[in-house]
Subunit: 197 residues, 2 copies
DNA sequence: GACAATTGGACTCAATTTGTCTATCTGACT
DNA sequence: AGTCAGATAGACAAATTGAGTCCAATTGTC
């Protein structure tokens, strides 16, 4: 990571809590510069506009989170457990930081206006990663997809959809985690090879 | 309470959480109107300006809180206990609603700009009420001021000063409550009549 | 229908914010 | 000391937002 990147990263890390506190609309570039400990002029050297800055923040959050998701999926262990951990990492990285904010709704809307493509790409990648993990588990005979009749990609999409549905009611410590755990248990049972039943 | 007052009260009650959320500066009249469920035009029928609205809010909070403080002091029981309860009511009514907000500092500053007289008057009244309670307790022989050498007004001012000092570090559940309890125990010991020692 | 209360919307004016630019400063390196 | 790159304060125009006012239209009440 070069110097330029470290500077940008520092700015984005400083900007996040400001956006969370005030929402996109009420946050000014002066607020962000002050929080980052730099001048407004310098802020404009790093980002050409508030919208570009927000987009970069979204991109960074998605990049870091997806790296974490990928790392979690590449661990050893039961595939369902790894998927559960991956979903958890996804939520921790992309929803939790905002989910408790009173400005969550406005921020999500802003994100969809300014960074929808990034969000969609990350979601696609998540599904691809889950699908890949399921496919490999099937090769190894760890799970049996024949009984449920689904392909890895379909199962991955289902899991992502459930996660989506749950996230809309997200509040830390709410029933969201429980719903997700339930889904994982159901999957585990449904995908268990006959040989282990 | 007439209709006009109920309307104003409703607006002020709606405005408080908005101010707490955004601070005075970033809160707009449109925000308040939306939260109160009325039009911006109606909001201006009730209050001529944002500053007047804030002042009215401060006045209302002080009025309600001081009524509660007075009621608590007029209960039966040990005078020190009643004073402790009164201080607690004062803090609950005037500090707790903001003390946990990230905008606490800005809001207190705004209050001092727009409603300093109200704040000072309430503080004076608090001291007068405490002083009165102490004076009556002395008449009844419940406490002995001779040993400490203070007059009721001096003691009342001391208590208020301690409360002030503590409030600047106020965070819910912080050490503030403990400091105040300690002061009360000390007072209880110091003012106990010799006959009971 | 009369009446009062409320509203959306248009409007002005002032303040704020955005984004740009320049002259100046600072610190590192030579 | 001289040079250079990066950061800064501050000024600035343009755009946006917000405050406060006003009124015609609407709503609900009697």
């Amino acid at each position: 990571m070069n110097n330029e990147d470290r500077k940008s990263a520092h700015i984005l890390d400083s900007a996040l809590p400001v956006f969370v506190r005030y929402g996109f609309q009420k946050t000014t570039m002066a607020d962000i510069a002050r929080t980052a400990g730099i001048s407004r002029a310098s802020l404009y050297l790093a980002f050409n506009s508030k919208e570009e800055l927000f987009r970069a923040g979204s991109a960074r959050a998605h990049r870091l989170t997806m790296a974490e998701v990928e790392a979690v999926l590449n661990r050893t262990g039961d595939v369902i457990d790894r998927i559960a951990a991956a979903i958890s990492a996804f939520q921790q990285g992309l929803i939790a930081p905002f989910g408790n904010s009173e400005n969550a709704k406005e921020l999500f809307e802003t994100n969809m206006e300014l960074a929808e493509d990034i969000t969609i790409a990350a979601r696609s990648k998540l599904i691809a990663l889950l699908s890949e993990a399921l496919g490999e588990a099937r090769e190894r005979g760890e799970i049996d997809l024949a009984a449920s009749g689904g392909r890895p990609a379909d199962l991955a999409a289902l899991i992502a959809a459930a996660m989506d549905g749950i996230k809309h009611n997200f509040r830390a410590g709410g029933p969201s985690d429980e719903s997700m755990r339930l889904l994982m248990r159901i999957l585990q049972l449904a995908l268990m090879p006959e040989s282990r039943r």
